[in-house]
């Protein structure tokens, strides 16, 4: 079987679609559990299972198709009111959903299902589903007879001998023909049973008389393993249904119509799928366009100054204004194409919460808001793990058991609120629970016994400083290690994941009342406003969003707030002492500029503030950042210049190196 290659656009489309369809089923099941039975949900699940099966067949993933088929059958009996959708059934559907997920994962990893198929649990699941529906509905598909075969033409398709999984091929043939004309019927029609024997003599297709046979023949031959395609003349039909020697007797009554052979692809008609690379290319192009626009505007300004009365210059100026508007609108739209709604991640949480609640015996109410907030595509993958980890933590450690909550006078049902909202050029995600909160005294004891801090140092720490300990590797205050969490691995990973995408995480807690984690993420990493700084021959850029203040100090003022040691410098800014570094030192540049005033930029990184002494501030510009990650590293071309996030092309065509502030200081 083919291993799914996600680089391949067709495979990727299949993968993404199936994943979405599986998620859809899951969401519907949870909905039924939450608000009760809904026929519309069953219809929806049925459609999804059907599509999963259809596309799995095209991909020749038999195992996936079979499981989807079982689910589809199950949905059919529920839909027809023959089976009541009990908790047991929804549980079974969810297990089926998990099975589909595992199969799909397997398709990505190895493309080989044999291991899974030998899995006893897996077989048991299929059997359970089958017995659930077959008990009620003995497998007797209602045979619909096409009342009138007049006006059809018959096409006989024969396959290569030794072809395996002919059913798949039949499906493909039907799908292919359905692209051209409606397939009225096909014989044999039980191809969903996936028995090869039934097709040994080929298949007979019934299509509209007026359909173009040659075109149909051509499209069938685009598939592999086709031995022959023949048109069976109507004369033969009248001759007592004796169709073809090889086919034997074929009576019309046996033919069951297939109404819809189109691979029903669950695709929103109002949207198109587009590959990541294409979007990135678009963004790059728009970036270049923006640069050219800047240059054009500059030239026009100069022309206007020189030839004030020239009519053509006037026209040029008008058209430039219009281009500027168009370019900025284009930029906005293109950038938004990279944004993906957070619901992609949020939608997975209810299922997880349900599972953990069941395992821990706790009652949880999960509320999610703001799933429509969007963040950059590259970040969505990075945020999923931290988010699930935090939610898991909240249930496992945060929310108390029902008895304890009752004793405390809290409602038995614990609450977890997840919300996303747009902040100042960033998205803020909050994960709040109304559980026990974090006991800071426990952190203190733990930190001191683990010798993470000395007693003297401990005296100066604020509550917030203490809370920071929970983000340290190996630190856990959980009284007992549970299966889910408490091993002290986790929050440090959560934090580093978020830091990696230029985000920040914060925690507030009230002992006994609950905990709230706040994650802040930049909207996009592709375009930024940067402050340009010149050091020697080099132009650097610092992301404007991170800059708190630019200070100009004369020597006297400098001495009053700066504390120097042989190894480091600190300055006092507002109430904080923050480390001061200079770009000259870090990048080993001699700018040679002597000035009466020192220019210091105070900026905030993810977790700390930093002051940077610079030689000259040149200006501010919106830039597209081209990552140089692939060039940086001990063995890479450029060596270890981790301080540089990327390079941007400025309006005049020159290059600026964008600094990653979080890498300027390594503690």
């Amino acid at each position: 079987m083919v291993k799914l290659n996600l680089e391949d656009s067709y495979h990727f489309m299949y993968w993404e679609e199936t994943k979405a369809q599986i998620a859809n089923i899951e969401a519907e099941v949870l909905m039924i559990e939450e608000i009760g039975f809904d026929l519309e949900s069953i219809h929806h699940m049925f459609r999804m299972a059907h599509s999963i099966k259809g596309s799995a067949v095209t991909m020749e993933y038999k195992a996936l198709a079979l499981l989807a088929h079982e689910l589809e059958s199950l949905f059919t009996v529920i839909r027809d009111g023959k089976l009541v959708c009990t908790h047991e059934i929804t549980q079974m559907i969810l297990e089926g959903v998990d099975g589909l997920k595992r199969l799909l994962d397997q398709a990505v990893h190895t493309g080989d299902f044999s291991e899974l198929l030998d899995d006893l649990d897996f077989k048991a699941l299929e059997n359970r589903i089958r017995s659930a529906y077959s008990k009620i509905a003995p497998v007797s598909p209602s045979i619909e007879v096409v009342p009138n075969y007049e006006g059809t033409q018959k096409i006989h398709v024969k396959f290569q001998e030794d072809l395996e999984m002919i059913a798949v091929k039949v499906f493909l043939v039907c799908s292919a023909v359905a692209e051209i004309t409606k397939v009225i019927a096909v014989y044999p029609n039980e191809f969903e049973t996936l028995e090869d024997e039934a097709f040994k003599d080929g298949i007979m297709l019934y299509v509209d008389e007026i359909a173009d046979y040659e075109a149909i023949k051509a499209v069938i031959f685009t598939l592999t393993d086709i031995l022959a395609v023949n048109k069976v003349e109507p004369a033969d039909l009248s001759g007592g249904y004796e169709v073809d020697e090889s086919l034997g007797q074929l009576s019309v009554s046996q033919v069951t119509p297939r109404r819809d052979f189109k691979l029903s692809v669950a695709m929103d008609i109002n949207s198109v799928r587009i590959s990541n690379q294409k979007v990135n290319r678009l963004i790059n192009l728009v970036g270049e366009l923006t640069l050219d626009k800047e240059t054009l505007l500059d030239i026009t300004r100069q022309l206007k100054a020189a030839y004030r009365r020239d009519r053509n210059v006037q026209r040029l100026d008008d058209i430039c204004d219009s281009i500027a508007l168009l370019a900025s609108e284009l930029q906005e739209i293109t950038l938004s194409a990279r944004l993906i709604p957070l619901s992609i991640v949020f939608d997975k949480l209810p299922r997880m919460v349900r599972g953990i609640a069941q395992d821990t015996g706790k009652k949880i109410k999960l509320e999610i808001m703001g799933g429509d907030q969007s963040i950059d595509r590259s970040m969505i993958e990075e945020i999923a793990d931290p988010l699930t980890h935090l939610v898991r933590n909240a249930i496992d450690h945060g929310i108390e058991s029902a008895e304890k909550r009752r004793a405390l006078g809290k409602p038995e049902e614990g609450k977890i609120n997840i919300s996303a909202r747009q902040g100042d050029s960033q998205v803020v995600i909050e994960i709040a629970d109304d559980g026990g909160g974090i006991d800071i005294s426990r952190i203190k004891v733990k930190a001191l016994t683990q010798n993470l801090i000395s007693v003297e140092e401990a005296e100066h720490l604020t509550e917030n400083d203490w809370l920071e300990f929970i983000f340290k590797p190996g630190f856990s205050t959980a009284a007992e290690v549970t299966e889910l969490s408490g091993r002290g691995v986790g929050l440090d990973v959560v934090k580093s994941n978020i830091t990696m995408i230029n985000g920040a995480i914060d925690i507030q807690t009230i002992f006994g009342k609950g905990t709230c984690f706040t994650i802040k993420l930049p909207l996009t990493m592709a375009i930024m406003n940067v402050l340009l700084i010149s050091e020697g021959n080099t132009i650097f850029g610092i992301p404007s969003s991170q800059i708190l203040e630019i200070i100009r100090l004369n020597q006297l003022e400098y001495q009053s707030i700066c504390y120097e040691t042989p190894y480091s410098r600190m300055i006092k800014w507002e109430e904080d002492m923050i480390p001061l570094v200079s770009l000259e030192d870090i990048f080993e540049i001699k700018s040679g500029i002597q000035s009466k005033h020192r220019k210091i930029i105070v900026a905030s990184t993810v977790d700390r503030k930093i002051a940077i002494e610079v030689s000259q501030v040149v200006g501010e510009q919106e830039v597209v950042i081209k990552s140089i990650k692939h060039l940086v590293g001990a063995n890479a071309i450029l060596g270890e210049i981790y301080e540089i996030l990327g390079v941007s092309i400025l309006g005049n065509g020159s290059l600026a190196q964008i600094i990653d502030l979080s890498k300027l200081i390594r503690f």
């Binding site: 270049e288 140089i628 071309i637 210049i641 092309i649």
Partner: protein
């Protein structure tokens, strides 16, 4: 071969074709298949990057792409080129190595030559992939993937 002046964009598709250049009495070459583009050193502005490895000159802007430039001669541990050095016919050969575009600054360009593949010989030089024969001489073909 004697033309000295490089035909910038011609014949680059030719599979047997290499860009030959001379350095320190040795003839080197880069396979044309690996070359994306050749630009004149004096035509581009190179932005230096501080604190990089020896031999890394900096970046330049190639129609919107940011390309790092490496000085071949400095890598060979002799004199490094300074950014203002425009005396000789220096060229930046933009090569595509494993999907990454890198500019290699060379001088002493001899031109494009056609290789006689039947006479290709192995070499001990770790920076070179083979000795290729063309126009009566052997050229050391740079193994860019290993070298960069």
């Amino acid at each position: 071969m004697q033309s000295g002046e490089l035909r910038d964009e011609a014949d680059i598709e030719d599979a047997n074709c290499v860009l030959a250049f001379q350095f320190d009495q040795t003839q080197f070459c880069i396979a044309c298949a690996e070359i994306a583009e050749v630009v004149r050193f004096k035509d581009v502005t190179i932005q230096s990057v501080p604190r990089t490895k020896t031999g890394v000159l900096g970046f330049f802007n190639l129609r919107g792409d940011v390309i790092p430039v490496i000085d071949f001669e400095a890598m060979w541990k002799t004199h490094a080129t300074t950014l203002s050095d425009q005396r000789r016919h220096k060229r930046i050969v933009v090569v595509n190595v494993n999907g990454i575009q890198v500019g290699v600054l060379i001088s002493g360009v001899l031109g494009l030559v056609s290789v006689d593949l039947s006479k290709t010989q192995p070499t001990d030089d770790i920076a070179c992939s083979a000795l290729v024969y063309a126009e009566g001489k052997y050229f050391k073909q740079l193994d860019l993937a290993a070298w960069l």
